[in-house]
Symmetry: C2
Subunit: 267 residues, 2 copies
């Protein structure tokens, strides 16, 4: 027997879906990090030893972080003994990219004997297989732009930057940084027409090579399709198997309605 699942629930619909799919799971949350999951047991991050004790007492052996790991403010005067012990490692990792921090968080949970699994391991249909998912067929130029966007993201992978990239007519119009997909797509949409030269272009969303999909999987949804359309792009390409499609039916319907293509392909 695999042992009881613990769900560390953050915001959004995903932790709700997991909680529904695994009703016997222990529902956990962090104080100050809102979640739509009901009946959660909330712990302060400063008292992480208390969280671990509660998980053990509840028979939890595996844990899934769902909804994206927020960075709650920390009050060091409230640290318990366990948090005192792990804090230096987490603080050090804060200097690096998200990957470094999340890797450190996973290490801390694994050191405590918990197995950390990804949401897509609990709900395999969260990710898409390679293929056309919705909307018109991509043009030959769209395919070339897709290729170039993947090349750019691949070049950035070693430096832990870039989950997304917009390319139009061979020209890079935006690289996703800390601010996220919606912000960079607004930026792309503001590109002066003279620079854009009538090209439509694509947005490619992929996981970084070193990205730990157990805690930090890129995700798209209906709002992403809207943002791609508003940016004047022809379509959204996601990396097969490594990007979550939240609210799949609504996402597909939105793509069809706005005439934006959605495809999944291998990087």
């Amino acid at each position: 027997m695999a042992g009881r699942l613990g769900i560390l629930a953050c915001g959004g619909a995903l932790p709700v879906r997991i909680a529904e799919a695994v009703p016997e799971a222990m529902r956990l949350a962090l104080e100050g990090v809102p979640t739509e999951v009901e009946d959660v047991e909330a712990h302060r991050i400063e008292k992480i030893g208390g969280l671990f004790d509660a998980m053990r007492a509840g028979g939890v052996t595996r844990v899934v972080f769902a909804g994206g790991l927020a960075r709650p403010p920390l009050d060091p005067t409230q640290f318990d003994a366990t948090m005192m012990q792990v804090a230096p490692r987490l603080m050090g990792a804060l200097q690096g990219g998200d990957d470094a921090l999340l890797r450190a968080v996973i290490d801390v949970f694994e050191d405590q004997g918990f197995e950390v699994i990804g949401a897509h391991e609990v709900l395999p249909d969260l990710v898409a297989k390679a293929g056309h998912l919705a909307g018109p067929e991509p043009s030959a130029q769209d395919l070339r732009d897709t290729e170039r966007a993947f090349d750019i993201l691949s070049a950035l992978s070693p430096v832990d930057v870039g989950q997304g990239c917009a390319v139009a007519g061979g020209l890079c119009l935006g690289i996703e940084t800390l601010q996220g997909t919606d912000a960079i797509l607004r930026f792309v949409g503001e590109t002066p027409e003279a620079l854009r030269r009538g090209q439509t272009g694509v947005y490619v969303k992929a996981a970084k090579r070193g990205q730990d999909l157990r805690v930090d999987m890129p995700a798209v949804g209906p709002a992403t399709i809207e943002a791609v359309s508003a940016a004047g792009l022809a379509g959204l390409v996601i990396e097969a198997g490594r990007v979550m499609v939240l609210e799949r039916e609504a996402t597909v319907a939105k793509a069809e309605a706005l005439g934006v293509f959605l495809t999944a392909r291998d990087a």
Copy 2:
């Protein structure tokens, strides 16, 4: 004797400075591309054969492209025989990044027997040597952020993207794409404070590895300092020897006035 210099003048103060420094140079321009240089002989890009003939008739053997190469609209029905010949190469290069296009333009001029030189070869003090140029000393965190920004730009070089990058507290806040420095610095300035977590950060401006500095050298000036300051960043770091400082005195004065540091270092 090196032969007469031709100046292909575009917008801004740089071609004016070159024209002043080399009064015997032939002053050339493209129709539809405004320039502040006076007494220019303007040619249509569609009649590039006529431009080459005029340069030869004027005794020009070396040419400097100054002010950034604009992309004027092309009317293929007006092409002369020479343009007909070189157009396929230029059109093909339009699919790639700026480097590819500029490389093709240089090739065309070189095939015609002209030597293409850079503005910094005519005016060596356009670029800065490594060292502190203005404003407060960078902090230890600023130096770490600078290192990380150079790493990110270096990773992007093979895909011909990224002349600039903002990093604050180890986090990448923006990568310069087609829209240029001012646009990405506005984007950086709009980063929500919750994401930025009180970090100041730096903007690093460097040439791409494959960048041909003869036609496409990155440049900063007083407006760049203003944009860096408005983005909430602590300073601007430029690559020594490979980034032009336009209006050096005004740039240094602006940095001192705004308390923004300006340093040059090797990549």
